[in-house]
Symmetry: D3
Subunit: 121 residues, 6 copies
């Protein structure tokens, strides 16, 4: 199995309005450093899974939707607890839709130097 | 010159309401991974600049004030552009006040894997 | 599959008394930076695998048992070669016991910037 | 499943002579920071997957073949697009041949702080 | 003293044709992960040393000149040993020329996970 | 001012027998990831501060003395609190003695992902 991984980041505000989250119920924010890994059992004619430049552009485009936004005010996240796990799955879905190739995808969001969340097929 | 450095992080929301900041004028947020470096020309009787546990506790206490907060709503930041540079200096001042020893201090805030800001004496 | 990963560290002394280990037969030590990853095919009602704070606390508690200890003197490690692989499995077992949820667990111990060992189900 | 991971690096020149690669068709180069992970369902008598020193030496030896070389001029790469994915598989094969144990192997090449490629069985 | 630091990377080929460099006399290459730090004793009206976006763009533009190039063939490096130290100073000069503000600048090039070189005023 | 930085690591056991250190009074240990930075206002004829290979070898040789050792049992550390700060200065002295050139030196020891200590002239 081959894979390539690219990295970008996005800065957002949100709140997690459920007593489960303690102080994170407040409006706060995060920098998510996002790694997207694209996997395939074989390489294409150019010996790549996907061009690293193309993968980087797709990730950048997908993150653009939430860059410098308050997620609480975006209609796609209305009434949803936008946890790091949820956002990993959401970004995963968006990248999948943008891909022309049928690649296996993993998305990991690092919310600090000591915590991350991921979603993979 | 001796130094020790400790690291912690804090997740906040804020906006930067000046056209200079483009999309960052919106309510958004950041994870700041914060490094505090304490410098001294000599060591104390225990061969340390400052106990790493004590330095870690001071940094944690100072960051507690803004943890999971919207900086726009805190009175100490009213009317202030809370840039990463500004916050580095603000945290610097708070740590200095909490220190019993007269140590030279540098504070660096990493807002992503590709950008940071620092303030030092 | 969803996952979250948290990180902590522990500083220990031990020896590896078998000629196989060359100079590491001596009493020496290590800082292990420990990553614990918790995986689940679904999220709970709060859209998380496990609360990051709870995961962090569990990891911290498990590491407490060996923090600042000489593993050669702890009864649970008597007569055992406490390699990084073995300790990854040991910590894995301890975290599993502390978990209320039935999560798939991976534990990785980074013993330096160039070497790590892991155990996963 | 147990695993250990070791890290080394190699600096090479090459070109990717296919219009698909845009500016990377030029003679350029890369530092590849290479991680080799060795996996096994069980440990040996010394409680290790493979000795970290032995794993480190094997990786170093394998990388030696291309260290400070122009890959375009090495016979083993004649007419081949030496992408990061391809090189991950190539290094994977060389390490497999050097291993006495039957271990599952993953090789990941980090070509920068924002991109990597991997090959695993 | 305030500072901000931004990071980018560039992939180049070159040789170091002096017996001093042993195997690095061969045509080989490197990924340089480049950190540029901009320092100032004061902040501007927007509470920044320099806009992080502007700093990032300047660094990207400067690196563009050598991206995917064989430095041995560029006229500006004719007859010059393009060591990491030399390139740090060269990039430093180019960034200084592109800056409108009079900022103190440090440039550090990481050529691997275990070695870097820097130039600062 | 030019500088180059190289990195290596060493694994040791020791105790800090003073009540000031709480649980670290016990026999425990650490992996120190050690960065040595060599600074000079000018480059030599080969456009380097010092050859990276030579700097790497010097650092490796100096660390060899304490590799896989219990510092409490080494005569050079008898009766000394071998804190990270102290060891940074000790290693600094040893590297200085091994240097043929008159370079300014900084030594930083990372004892975990969240704490380090340094000594510089």
């Amino acid at each position: 199995m081959f894979s390539i991984t690219v990295k970008d980041h996005v800065m957002i505000a949100h709140s997690l309005p459920d007593p489960y989250f303690g102080p994170a119920q407040n409006m706060h924010g995060a920098t998510y450093v996002v790694e997207a890994s694209f996997k395939s059992p074989s390489l294409n004619e150019q010996n790549v899974v996907i061009d690293i430049g193309e993968a980087t552009d797709i990730l950048k485009d997908v993150l653009q939707e939430m860059a410098y936004q308050n997620l609480d005010e975006l209609p796609q996240f209305r009434g949803i607890l936008t946890t790091t796990e949820y956002l990993a799955q959401y970004i995963h879905g968006k990248i999948k839709s943008a891909l022309r190739e049928d690649l296996i995808l993993k998305v990991e969001l690092f919310e600090s130097h000591v915590a991350s969340a991921a979603y993979e097929e």
